[in-house]
Subunit: 333 residues, 2 copies
């Protein structure tokens, strides 16, 4: 069957897209043929909005899209609730492929109780492979968090480990190249890191705690950019210590093999937060009790002290905005 | 300067993207380096969300993106207020080109008092030309409208004329080919039709009136799909009359030249609404008084009577979902 350029047919929407949209009682106008917008009854006076595409991954892009957008919402202290999805696919893409992507998005939405409430699905010559762009809306019950409200003297904590998302993407896309140097069990374990990409649980725990001053979801440029971005948004300096930053065995081995700095590798799955020093111990314990690995990796300083990372060998390096390692690797391969 | 793949640099964001984001007092967390989500204080319990990419146009894609997304919100009866923008551009795209697109988006946002509050800007090999994907959020004061609530016996009205957006896109992209058969003044006038793309004014007027039962923004597939979509969403039939459908001289001439059916041509700029018959006259007058051309083009019927269009020559044609003419023309050229 010849696929037609433009918006997909109503049949494709009914069969391959709408089944993965949840219907919630607060969704007054749900996704339906011919509706232009979803209408939602909110129960809060504050809403958070974020929007991100998935461009660096080839696998499970629907699933990833929901989770990375939910992460952005969660770090604002909001509960992610409503998602809209734009799916742009090359002309030759079948309805089944569209269904597969939406099914993955629907699975992620189920996992975190998010409702896909609308969007747009189109075959177009503009894209070379399927691109999914998500927008997430969340509602805030307590106060909104931001990256900009960290204070001098706050401790910086991170959850899980560095380069989670990047490790998984690389393991999956460069499997053949890696398998020449690493054993397949490790590569398989690295691919499975993708399952750890949601920071919703820890963000919701932290949002309810006294003493958390800022939260941020480090993505492109990894922990380095993540900390730099908190500094930039807050107008502060910082010092972080490489030795305090947890890096899994899988990430370490893959990064060594490809000569990648794991601290500059796309890190969805890790949450950065700044915390008043007297509360940090209690909060790290709370996270660990809830089975979320967490550690203090440094401190927010006065802007004039600069932004630094102390490397394993003791040398100090200026913390500045970097391009993600994943793009360099993709460019080379 | 070599452009880097991935998220654009903080400098590009500061210089070329953020200047076009408006800061509103209800925008608690504005777009800023390192922020993951915008946080907004809403003043209504109902919000409307829509999301659409611009894929068929090459010119003013930023401006178009804001208006087509605002249209989708307006027909739900909501006032469009908050926009997030995803801008995916080919690797070679300069900061200046990004600025140009965002400036156009900012101009559209100014025109209709919308606030661009966040998004994502990335250089990627996935796209062949710049793609902008907008999501718009609006707040509803009165009742939400939908395409699904038309009743048997309601009259169908349309504003302005058929194929507004498509005529402008074609005039701009096929100027050379058209100028062999049509005079340049007419082509210029056709290009200018783009300025008529917003239906915000008429949608807000209609949302405040008694007797309006459904509103819809006909896009791909033009008036034919637009009416079909209202029927499909409402579970109804319809009969419309080609002789009642306003087509501008520019649209007519361009469509004749390219053998296009103007009623199947992408029609942002036109608003379709269904209205209780006793109110239709008053409402058409209200629109005309506000300088919005409007006409009754047909009637909603019982589903079992089917969906039909009476052509100029008196023949009846089944109204069914069609592919937009613009894709066929683009494929041929």
């Amino acid at each position: 069957m010849k696929q037609k350029i433009g918006k997909v047919s109503p049949e494709t929407l009914e069969k391959n897209v709408f089944p993965y949209c949840r219907h919630h009682r607060n969704l007054i106008i749900p996704p339906r043929i011919g509706e232009d917008a979803a209408v939602i009854k909110t129960t809060s006076n504050y809403i958070a909005i974020s929007s991100d595409p998935i461009t660096g991954a080839d696998e499970k892009i629907g699933w990833l899209c929901i989770h990375v957008n939910a992460n952005d919402i969660a770090v604002s202290g909001a509960k992610p609730l409503w998602a809209v999805i734009n799916l742009l696919v090359p002309l030759k893409t079948t309805g089944n492929k569209i269904r597969e992507i939406m099914k993955e998005a629907g699975r992620a939405a189920e996992e975190i109780k998010v409702n896909i409430v609308g969007g747009h699905t189109e075959r177009t010559r503009i894209v070379k492979k399927p691109v999914i762009i998500g927008t997430m809306i969340g509602e805030i019950k307590r106060k909104p968090f931001s990256s900009s409200t960290s204070n001098e003297g706050d401790l910086i904590i991170m959850t899980k480990s560095a380069g989670i998302e990047g490790t998984a993407i690389i393991a999956s896309s460069l499997k053949k190249r890696l398998s020449k140097k690493l054993d397949n069990q490790l590569i398989g374990k690295a691919e499975k890191l993708m399952e750890k990409i949601s920071v919703l649980k820890e963000a919701m725990l932290l949002a309810a705690e006294e003493g958390v001053t800022a939260m941020h979801d480090p993505t492109e440029g990894g922990i380095i950019n993540g900390v730099w971005e908190i500094c930039e948004a807050s107008g502060k300096g910082a010092i972080i210590y490489e030795e305090k930053i947890n890096v899994t065995e899988e990430t370490k081995k893959i990064c060594e093999t490809l000569k990648i700095d794991p601290l500059k590798l796309i890190s969805s799955g890790c949450l950065l937060a700044t915390i008043r020093p007297e509360k940090a111990g209690k909060i790290v314990k709370l996270l660990e009790k809830n089975k979320v690995k967490a550690s203090v990796i440094g401190e927010i300083t006065n802007l004039y002290k600069g932004r630094k990372i102390v490397r394993l060998n003791g040398s100090q390096e200026k913390l500045q905005y970097v391009q993600d390692e994943i793009w360099r690797i993709h460019e080379e391969s």
